[in-house]
């Protein structure tokens, strides 16, 4: 008796699966370009019946109630297993997207995210050149004009700043995500971050003095400059504001630091020449430095056309 029931159940299951069509199963998806997603199935697609736009539902993971309007579905050009969904509007590729298929030929759900490496590289380059801290965000100008007189000091400051920015970026990310956010103490971020940076600089000062006195002699003077500096404080604030994850925070902070170091080095080269140039009396000193900086900013605007992925 038991055996018969088992066989009947198996038969029923077979029947329903046959009714569901040829059993297409979603495998993976990726962003093809700014307004289309390519969806791959486990088996080849013979045609597009049952895969019309009305059978799909695509949403951003952060706003699952708003379905993105699909324009058309077509077979992917290179892959016989894949279909390409084209949307009416551009997709926000930084967000994970959920693709749901509900059709007689099969149903399923996959999540489409952007290649992590591409995201990180974009963040890095964007922080370093496209949104360079000095030339397009105008941060760290005080130090920028203060220490860009000579190349040696520019290099030393650049290295120290990159180091501190990276450490404080990571540390403040952890404090914000694990302490401030769960306790909803976000409004304390200014106080907490500035204390954090001050402690970090003090710690770095002590550690460097003990383990590498030679390096300390070279870089120690710049450490003092760091504690109350907008470029250092801006990194934790921006990281908290944009809700980056750990890897993103790291690449963002390193990119910002290296971008600042590069700006400093470029400026120091020009200012060494400026020192021996004949500059009109009222422009001497800072005014001419600002105008040179403006020229650099003009050149860096060229990077804003740079779009990577």
């Amino acid at each position: 008796m038991k055996k018969i029931m088992l066989i009947a159940a198996m038969l029923a299951a077979l029947a329903t699966s046959a009714l569901a069509g040829d059993g297409l199963t979603l495998k993976a998806g990726s962003f093809a370009d700014a307004h289309s997603i390519e969806v791959e199935f486990l088996s080849p697609l013979s045609g597009l019946e049952g895969l019309e736009p009305s059978h799909w539902r695509v949403v951003e993971a952060s706003s699952p109630d708003i379905a993105l309007p699909l324009e058309k579905v077509e077979l992917a050009p290179a892959n016989p297993n894949a279909a390409r969904l084209t949307f009416r509007q551009n997709l926000d590729m930084g967000q994970p997207h959920q693709v749901t298929l509900a059709s007689p030929r099969g149903s399923g759900k996959i999540e489409v995210t952007r290649n992590m490496l591409a995201v990180l590289l974009t963040l890095f380059l964007s922080a370093a050149v496209i949104n360079n801290y000095v030339f397009s965000r105008y941060l760290g100008l005080c130090v920028f004009f203060g220490v860009s007189q000579h190349r040696d000091t520019a290099v030393g400051t650049g290295i120290t700043f990159t180091l501190v920015m990276t450490c404080s970026g990571i540390l403040s990310w952890a404090v914000f995500q694990f302490i401030l956010k769960p306790l909803s103490l976000g409004f304390l971020q200014i106080l907490v971050f500035i204390g954090l940076v001050a402690c970090l600089v003090q710690a770095l000062d002590t550690i460097l003095r003990k383990i590498n006195p030679v390096l300390f002699k070279k870089l120690g003077v710049y450490l003092v400059l760091i504690t109350v500096n907008c470029i250092i404080l801006a990194v934790p604030l921006l990281i908290a504001d944009r809700n980056f994850n750990l890897a993103e925070s790291f690449f963002f902070a390193v990119g910002a630091g290296l971008g600042f170091a590069m700006a400093l080095y470029l400026m120091a080269n020009v200012r060494e020449r400026l020192a021996v140039a004949r500059v009109p009396a009222s422009f001497q000193g800072l005014p001419i430095a600002f105008i040179v900086c403006g020229l650099f900013a003009l050149a860096f605007m060229g990077f804003s056309g740079l779009s990577l992925f």
């Binding site: 100008l141 004009f145 203060g146 200014i190 504001d241 009222s282 800072l286 900086c293 605007m301």
Partner: protein
């Protein structure tokens, strides 16, 4: 010095933007128009005056060796306050300048006034010193904002004056640097003509 003299000193001879070249970052960043300059200027006046008053009132209780830490905490407190006030009452404008309002915390001008003036003077002179420096800063920001808005978008305070955009570059990052460079040079020349002292060394912090 009387209160009036203290204010004039902050506006002209020791103008934080053009003469002392302190806290330049926001001076370029938010000054694409007069309104933003005014808004950030208001925040700075508030923080500077309140921090000066606090530092002056507490000057007998703050030990010399921990003063920088105490001052930083005082500033951070007032900055958090103005940050929340502006976020609550002026949300549209606040969105454009929020990062730079938070960064008032590290404005060298504020801590240096507390250190140089408020920690050694009673309440009333500290109040006027704070007002003078704050207004000087606001004046600088609004000057830069006016030039950039007029040349960059042909407007002033949002009103269309020129009907055209003569120099679009002025509202781009590069324009900010150019305007400050030229205004500094003009400021130096005019003050020299008026006999108000040689250009200061400046440039640190």
């Amino acid at each position: 010095m009387s209160g009036f003299q203290l204010i004039v000193r902050g506006l002209l001879a020791e103008n934080p933007v053009f003469r002392l070249a302190l806290s330049m970052c926001p001076a370029v960043a938010v000054t694409t128009n007069v309104k933003n300059g005014f808004l950030l200027g208001c925040a700075v006046v508030f923080v500077q005056v309140m921090s000066n008053l606090t530092a002056s009132a507490l000057r007998q209780f703050v030990h010399q060796r921990v003063r920088v830490v105490i001052y930083t905490i005082i500033i951070a407190t007032w900055v958090s306050a103005i940050d929340m006030i502006m976020g609550a009452y002026l949300p549209d404008l606040y969105d454009q300048v929020s990062l730079y309002i938070k960064l008032i915390v590290v404005f060298a001008i504020i801590i240096s006034r507390m250190e140089l003036f408020a920690s050694k003077n009673p309440l009333i002179p500290s109040l006027f010193d704070g007002l003078g420096m704050g207004l000087g800063f606001m004046f600088g920001l609004m000057m830069i904002g006016a030039v950039r808005e007029l040349l960059g978008s042909g407007q002033l305070l949002g009103f269309d004056l020129l009907g055209t955009k003569p120099l679009l570059i002025m509202i781009l990052p590069a324009g900010g640097f150019f305007v400050i460079g030229f205004l500094m040079a003009i400021f130096n020349t005019v003050l020299k003509k008026l006999g108000l002292g040689a250009p200061p060394a400046g440039g640190h912090h």
